[in-house]
Symmetry: C2
Subunit: 505 residues, 2 copies
C-alpha cells in the first residue's frame, strides 16, 4: 500500500480525489433496468416477425453442419435433408418453451453473483481481440499477460460484472493450451461470474471440469456458473465446432449465448425487420437444439449486430439501423420469454478518440433501451473488435457506472421534504448546503474532466485517452487478488499442469 | 469549384468518397420522433409533480425583478408582494391553456421551414460560447468571423436545422452592436429558421424589425420566424433583462425558450423529481406571463440541466440524473400540452476527445428519448459551454444525422420480398448483391473511420478531432451563400448601418 499511496500523492488532483472519495471499490450488482424496454412493434408487428422467422425455418430451413446434430434432429422428428434441417413451428415452440426466462449467475464469491433475464442485465468484458493497444497506446499482438490484466481490471471495476474469458486473444500461447491459461486466470484472478471457453470441444470440456473443481460438481449441475459465446455463421449455418461446444455446455446445464453474427446488408438483408427475422430464426434453432440435448437447460438468444458500409464493405459500429435491430430483438426475446444478449461499447476507430466515445455510447443506448440481459464487449473494444485498448477499457468501465445509474431510473424521493427545502431557500438561494444535497450527491464520473481550461492546461492538457491509460496503470498497481482456498487452487493448478502436458505432446 | 476539386483530390480517400457520394447536401427536415418518448411516471407520479410545482408557485411564489411585470401580474389578479408573485393554480393553468402545442417555424427559404411540438423535434446550433477552438485546435476568444463561420457550417449541414443566433460570442464587436452583426449574419448567410437576439430589449426589438424586413410585417405577426432563448435565474427569479425581451417577443407573436438554468444540487435540489418540480414551476410562471402580454403567443418550456460535482462545484455534462430529469420534463410538457426545449451534445472536456464524444452522446440520448422539441447546443460545445470547437462541431453535426435516422424509427418494409431473398440466397450466402441492399444502404457516417488499422495508419493515423477540423475547412471552402432579393438585402444593410451609427454615438 506504500507504493499505492506514493503513486496517489504523485498522481495529481484527480488521483488524490479518488483516494479520498473511493477508499474501497463499491461493486455494482445486476442492473435492474427501470427505464427500458422500448417496444417498437405493436402485437401485429410481433406476429409478423414471428411468422417470418417460422417461415424461414419451415421452408428454407437451416444447416447444421455436424453429423451428431443432424442425427439428433432426425430422431426428434425434424425434416432433415442432407445438412438442411427444416423445423415446424409447433416443434420449435415446444422446445423453446422449456428455456428458463431468468436465472441466477453464480460467482465463486457469492456477493458477486448476478441475475440474468427479465429486467436484469449484466455487463461482460471485451471478447476475442487479437490486438491490444497497450498502456503506451501502441498496438501489438495480444498476449496472455494482457488477458490477465483485463481480468484484473474487471475484478477491480465497479461495473464490469463479468470478467469474461477471452478479453484479449493470447497469441503467445499455443492454441491448444490457451483455454487452460484463460480459465485458470479468470477463476483465480477474479471472483466474479465467468464466461467459458468455446475454442474447441476439448476446451469446453476442460472449462466445465475446472468449474466443477471450484464450485463442486453438484452445484454446477444445478446452477449457472459460466456462459459460452457461440456464433452462428449467418445466414443459416451452425457449424460443427460451435455445436460440439453447445452440446458440452447444454449437457452441463450451462447456458450459451447463441449469436447470429450480423453484418446488416451482407450476412442479412439491409433491413431491420428482415434482418431480425433471419437472426431470430437462427438463434431459436440453436436454442431449440439445446433443449434436445437437455430439456430446461438455460440458453440465451444472442446477437452481434453491425452495419456494413456499402462503399468499402467494412463493418460499421454505433450506426442507427443496428440500434433499431437491437430494439426489435429485445422485443422478440420478451415475446418468447428468453433472455437475450448483444454487443455494445464498440467502435471501428483505431484510437480512444471522439469517434470511439460516440460509437460506443451510440451502441450502448439502444442495447439498454432494448433491455438486453447479457451485454458483451462492455469495455475496451476498438478497431472493429480486432483491438482492445487499456485506455478505452478504463474509460468505458466508468461509463458503465453511468449507464447503470441512468437505467436504474427514479429512486424513491421524499418530495414533501424537498418542497420544504425549496420554500426555506426561496428565490435566489442555493441548495449546496442542504442535508438532502449532502446525502444524495449526483453520480460522478471521476475520470470526466470538468475543470477550468486553465486548470486542465496546468495539469498537462490530458486527453481522455491519456487519463484512461494512467488510470489503468493505477488500478493494476493497486490490484488485490481475491483469495481462493488452497485445496481448490492446488487442484486447479494440477489440472492445468496435467492437461498442458497432455496437449503439448 | 476548381479549388474544391483540387482539395478533394488531395484530401485522400474519405474526401474522394464524399465527393462521389454526396454531390449536393441532402437537407434533413424536422425529426418526427417515432422511438421516444419514454414516460417514467404513471398518472399518479405526474399529478404529484404537478402538485409540487403548483404548491411552489402558490406558497413560496417566484420573483419577477421587473416593475412592468409586477404591475402586469397585479393587474391580472395575482398575489404580488414586493417582487414576489404568488400564482394560484387555476390562474396559471388558464394562462397556460392558450400556449400553442405545435407550430410551423418559417425559414426565408420555405423548403427549410420546420415544425416544433408534439413528435416534432428540431436541432439548433451552439449558443453563447465566449471561446473558440479554432481550425488549428487552439483556444482563443471568439470573433464575429467565427460566428459567421458557424452560420456557414449550419447552412451546409444536413442536420443542423436551426443556425441559431450566437454560436460564438463575438468578442471583437462592441456589446451594443453585436446583435446587429449576428442577426444580419444569420439572415444573409443562411436561409434556415433562426433564433433571435436577447442581449437587451433593444437587441430584441432590432431582431424583430430585421425579421420584418425579410419576412414582411404581417407574416411575422402570424408566423413563427425566430425563437429567443431566455434563462431563469434558478431558483425562482426572472430578471428584468429577460422579461424585457420576453415582452418584445411575445408582443410580436414569437416564441421564447423559457429556460431555468439547472445545476442540480446547486440551483435545484440534488433530486430528479424535486429539481423538476422547481424548474417546471419557473418555466410555467414565465410562460403564463407571456400569455398576459399576448394571449395565444407560442412559447416553449425550456430547460438547461447539468449536474454539479459535489467535490469541485463544476458543472457535469452527460451525467445520469440530468438525463432522467430531461425525461421527466418531457413527460410534464406533454401533460401541459406545450413544446419543450433542452440542451444536448455538450461536454466539460477541453478537447474533442473520447470524453467529449461520450458526454455529448450521453446528453443527447435522454433528450431525444424525452421527446424534446427544440434542441439547443446541437453541435460544437466543449469546456462546459464556454467553448465551441470547429472539429467537434462538424463531428457532432454528422452525429445529428445518425440520431435523426435512429429516432425516425422503423420504415415500411416489404417483409415478403425480404423472405424471398432469404430463401433464394439460403445458408452460407450473402445479401450484398440483392436489389434491396443496393436500394436501401445502411445509414453511413462518412467521417466515421472503419478502415483497417494499416489503411488508417497509411493515411496519417488521424484522430476524429483531426478529421473534423479538416472537414470543417473543406465545408467552409465549399460554402455557397443562399441568394436573397436585392431589395431585402439593401434594406437589411441600411438598417444595420443606421443602428450601428446610432449605438456607437
Amino acid at each position: 500500500m506504500t507504493q499505492a499511496t506514493a503513486r496517489a500523492a504523485r498522481g495529481g488532483r484527480a488521483a488524490r480525489l479518488r483516494a479520498r472519495t473511493n477508499p474501497a471499490p463499491v461493486y455494482l450488482s445486476t442492473l435492474n433496468n427501470r427505464v427500458g424496454p422500448i417496444d417498437l412493434l405493436g402485437p401485429e408487428g410481433v406476429d409478423r416477425l414471428h411468422n417470418a422467422a417460422m417461415t424461414i425455418l419451415e421452408t428454407t430451413g437451416i444447416e447444421f453442419r455436424d453429423p451428431v446434430a443432424l442425427a439428433d434432429w432426425k430422431k426428434h422428428g425434424a425434416d432433415v435433408d442432407g445438412e438442411r434441417v427444416r423445423i415446424g413451428r409447433d416443434m420449435l415452440m415446444d422446445l423453446i418453451s422449456t428455456v428458463p426466462s431468468e436465472w441466477g449467475y453464480a460467482a465463486r464469491n457469492p456477493e458477486r453473483s448476478l441475475r440474468v433475464g427479465h429486467r436484469n442485465s449484466v455487463f461482460a468484458n471485451a471478447y476475442g481481440a487479437p490486438f491490444v493497444y497497450g498502456l503506451d497506446g501502441v498496438r501489438r499482438p495480444s498476449t496472455l499477460a494482457d488477458a490477465q490484466n483485463f481480468f484484473k481490471l474487471s475484478q477491480m471495476s465497479q461495473a464490469m460484472m463479468v470478467p469474461g474469458i477471452l478479453p484479449a486473444e493470447p497469441q503467445d500461447v499455443p492454441v491448444r493450451q490457451r483455454h487452460l491459461d484463460l480459465v485458470h486466470g479468470v477463476l483465480t484472478l477474479t471472483d466474479k461470474p465467468i464466461m467459458g471457453s468455446v475454442l474447441s470441444e476439448r476446451a469446453a470440456r476442460d472449462t466445465v471440469d475446472m468449474a466443477r473443481i471450484v464450485f463442486g460438481e453438484g452445484f454446477v449441475d444445478s446452477n449457472v456458473v459460466m456462459a459460452g459465446l457461440l456464433n452462428c455463421n449467418t445466414p443459416l449455418v451452425w457449424d460443427e465446432t460451435m455445436l460440439q461446444s453447445l452440446r458440452v455446455y447444454a449437457a452441463a446445464n450451462q447456458p450459451c449465448l447463441l449469436s447470429p453474427f450480423v453484418l446488416a446488408g451482407a450476412s442479412t438483408p439491409a433491413s431491420p425487420q428482415g434482418g431480425v427475422a433471419l437472426l431470430i430464426a437462427e438463434g431459436l434453432a440453436g436454442m431449440a437444439y439445446s433443449q434436445i440435448i437437455r430439456r430446461g437447460t438455460p440458453m440465451v438468444l444472442g446477437v452481434a449486430i453491425m452495419g456494413v458500409s456499402m462503399k468499402t464493405g467494412a463493418p460499421m459500429m454505433g450506426s442507427p439501423e443496428p440500434g433499431l435491430m437491437n430494439l426489435l430483438v429485445g422485443q422478440m426475446a420478451r415475446h418468447y420469454g428468453v433472455p437475450w444478449r448483444t454487443c455494445t461499447m464498440w467502435t471501428g476507430s483505431k484510437a480512444a478518440d471522439m469517434q470511439s466515445g460516440y460509437d460506443s455510447a451510440n451502441a450502448m443506448w439502444p442495447v439498454l433501451l432494448g433491455g438486453a440481459n447479457y451485454i458483451v464487449h462492455g469495455a475496451g473494444i476498438v478497431e472493429g473488435a480486432l483491438g482492445v485498448s487499456y485506455a478505452k477499457w478504463v474509460q468505458d468501465a466508468v461509463q458503465l457506472e453511468n449507464f447503470h445509474r441512468f437505467f436504474s431510473g427514479l429512486l424513491d424521493e421524499n418530495l414533501d421534504a424537498l418542497l420544504n427545502d425549496i420554500a426555506m431557500i426561496g428565490p435566489g438561494g442555493h441548495f449546496l448546503g442542504t442535508d438532502h444535497t449532502r446525502e444524495n450527491p449526483m453520480h460522478m464520473n471521476l475520470l470526466q474532466n470538468n475543470d477550468s481550461f486553465e486548470q486542465w492546461e496546468a495539469e498537462g492538457s490530458k486527453s481522455a485517452e491519456a487519463v484512461g491509460a494512467e488510470e489503468a496503470q493505477r488500478i493494476l498497481d493497486n490490484y488485490v487478488q481475491p483469495s481462493m482456498p488452497d485445496d481448490q487452487r492446488g487442484a486447479l493448478d494440477q489440472f492445468v499442469a496435467k492437461k498442458r502436458a497432455e496437449y503439448s505432446g
